[in-house]
């Protein structure tokens, strides 16, 4: 396989000025991150700071209603309330070992921004977070959290004013400040080695889930499900299960309001191959190669690209990618809250909504494990407004 590629996807389509820091990062992964001292330090932080292992929770109430066993990998219980912290603690630690003094990041839902600001505070690094102006409004609560953690939030007013534009701004910043700065990318996207780096740091989710489910029921699950924005929680969840062919891997994308041709975020389901943010992957784009604005109720899924490894798993037929609408995700959010006492992030609600659709289609003995990528506290304002809208 070509260097930095997953089959036909991936690679490194970045300006020449970014090649030196990308090569430096690749070298640091091999020299520092692969080493035993780094791994020990990281494991210690994951246990005592992040709160790993996170629980694997059997939804007894919902399982009765659905007619099969439903399990949640509780990334919402990790420090800061989402899986994003696994990645940022790892990258911040690596950056520190590389002698960098500052992290720059982009954020959509704000979860990655909060997680980066948290890791930066912990490790004594400066932190600058770019965020689409639209998302600054949608996720005001997380903006406040980042600022309290000592980060500088820079609203991005160009383009669609969401995640993709925040990534453009963060990359520009990195080009200019590469000597002192590490770009702490928030998902399994971007030029090589980022998709690999983020996957390695998120793979802890699936490793734990695999051990936990086997310890509990003695067999592998039938399906493993995760929502896909850039694809980091999903690839982290899938990675340990990929070699187990009998386990179906399902990635759930956002279909927005579901109307055909509307702007949505279902990149793998409806996109075409192209290059964005340094990587060859599936994209929402015009036939002329202009990137389309995406849309989802869940800000963390609002991205017109996807990690290249997912495009590869899809091409191989090893993973399947399906879509869920805003309405279905909102219904799933409400249902989990009422039946199990858990408020899921709107992103994670997409994965859950897929599982709810399986009612009556699986045998009683089937087991489905969902990555509950984050908690819903950040989404309360969006949910409140949506409910008001629906009540008319």
């Amino acid at each position: 396989m070509k260097k930095g590629y997953f089959g036909d996807f991936g690679g490194r389509f970045a300006p020449e000025l970014l090649m030196p820091p990308l090569l430096e990062l690749e070298e640091a992964m091999a020299r520092i991150m692969a080493g035993e001292p780094f791994q020990r330090e990281l494991a210690d932080l994951l246990t005592h700071f992040v709160g790993r292992p996170t629980a694997l929770y059997h939804c007894a109430n919902l399982s009765r209603e659905l007619g099969f066993g439903l399990w949640l990998k509780r990334e919402d219980l990790a420090h800061t309330g989402a899986h994003k912290i696994n990645n940022t603690v790892g990258q911040a630690l690596l950056a520190k070992h590389m002698g960098k003094t500052r992290l720059v990041a982009e954020t959509g839902a704000g979860q990655h921004g909060v997680a980066t600001a948290t890791a930066a505070a912990l490790l004594g690094l400066e932190c600058i977070v770019y965020m689409g102006a639209e998302d600054v409004v949608r996720q005001a609560h997380n903006v406040q959290r980042m600022e309290l953690l000592g980060a500088t939030v820079r609203p991005v007013d160009s383009g669609s004013r969401t995640l993709k534009d925040a990534i453009n701004a963060a990359m520009r910043h990195w080009i200019a400040e590469q000597g002192t700065t590490h770009y702490c990318l928030g998902s399994a996207v971007g030029p090589h080695p980022f998709p690999l780096l983020v996957r390695e740091l998120q793979a802890v989710i699936g490793r734990e889930a695999l051990d936990q489910i086997q310890a509990r029921i003695g067999v592998l699950p039938d399906q493993v499900v995760a929502c896909v924005g850039g694809g980091s929680n999903a690839i982290g969840m899938f990675h340990a299960f990929v070699p187990h062919a009998q386990v179906a891997l399902i990635g759930v994308e956002a279909a927005g309001d579901g109307s055909p041709g509307c702007c949505h975020s279902a990149t793998l389901s409806t996109g075409t191959t192209g290059v964005l943010h340094g990587t060859m992957t599936k994209l929402l784009q015009t036939v002329e190669g202009q990137i389309l604005a995406s849309h989802s109720l869940a800000p963390g899924l609002d991205y017109p690209g996807v990690g290249p490894e997912h495009a590869h798993l899809q091409a191989l037929g090893r993973a399947q990618y399906v879509c869920v609408t805003d309405d279905q995700a909102l219904a799933a959010f409400m249902r989990l809250a009422r039946t199990e006492g858990i408020l899921p992030a709107l992103e994670s609600s997409h994965a859950l909504a897929y599982a709810l659709k399986l009612t009556g289609t699986l045998p009683q003995t089937a087991n489905v494990v969902i990555c509950l990528s984050g908690r819903g506290d950040k989404d309360l304002e969006i949910v409140r407004q949506e409910l008001l809208k629906r009540e008319g």
Partner: protein
């Protein structure tokens, strides 16, 4: 291999005792009509090579002025097919060398093979792809070279001697040296290390060396005159057009003062 038309253009300018002048303008800026008038005016004013920007929705290597201009072009539905068609029609009356400068995805969607053919047919002499580093460039370069179109490499202050040498082995036309660690956009002062970096690059590349990003006045070249063969002006030209409505005397200081 025959000498590249772009190399020839620069060599001619140098023979006249001046640096090659290479204005950059996004295709369709500020309007589709006005754009071609500006190209004709730049050509008449003595531009040696004209860089036509191919607009892209997500231009990560560009600053705010070029990004805004590119988005303005996209709003008028400018695309590669239109650029190449118009260029094909108008090329016989344009003296300057023509380079298309853009990002990978629009080129990729057009089809690299078809692009190489149609670009050559339209009289394009070279391509600059801002997000195509050395490692990914072999395939596109071969396709373009088969049709006599140069793939111009971008290098910068952080390019190691090893990378410069690797580029030098492949490059034809000229090499584009990015003057700053950052995006396009006018800067008052150029970085201090520039002189040493340019001198090093000049020794490594057998083809002419053009300097771009941040240029607005010939006085900025003080100290690097002897190693720079050409200059590229983008944001400064866009601003000039914004404030005066025409190309006017924009190139004069670059051509006359030298």
């Amino acid at each position: 291999m025959s000498t590249s038309y772009l190399t020839e253009k620069i060599t001619k300018a140098l023979a006249q005792g001046r640096k090659a002048v290479m204005p950059y303008l996004p295709a369709g800026y500020p309007t589709k009509e006005a754009f071609w008038k500006h190209i004709d005016d730049l050509d008449a004013a003595g531009a040696d090579i004209i860089e036509i920007g191919v607009p892209f929705s997500d231009p990560v290597a560009d600053g705010p002025v070029v990004e805004q201009a590119a988005l303005c072009c996209l709003e008028q539905n400018v695309n590669l097919a239109w650029i190449l068609e118009e260029l094909h029609r108008r090329r016989p009356t344009i003296q300057a060398g023509i380079v298309l400068m853009g990002y990978m995805n629009p080129f990729l969607q057009y089809g690299m093979d078809k692009l190489a053919r149609d670009a050559a047919r339209a009289g394009v002499n070279g391509l600059i792809i801002a997000d195509l580093p050395l490692e990914e460039s072999n395939g596109p370069r071969k396709l373009l070279q088969e049709h006599g179109v140069d793939l111009i490499p971008l290098v910068g202050l952080n390019s190691s001697p090893e990378r410069l040498r690797a580029h030098a082995e492949e490059a034809t036309g000229f090499v584009y040296f990015v003057s700053v660690m950052g995006t396009t956009g006018v800067r008052e002062a150029l970085p201090e290390q520039l002189q040493d970096a340019l001198t090093q690059a000049k020794q490594i590349f057998p083809i002419p060396l053009a300097l771009g990003f941040g240029l607005h006045a010939p006085s900025q070249l003080q100290g690097v005159e002897s190693v720079v063969d050409g200059v590229v002006m983008g944001s400064a030209l866009i601003r000039h057009i914004d404030s005066t409505g025409s190309v006017g005397s924009f190139l004069a200081p670059w051509i006359d003062s030298q």
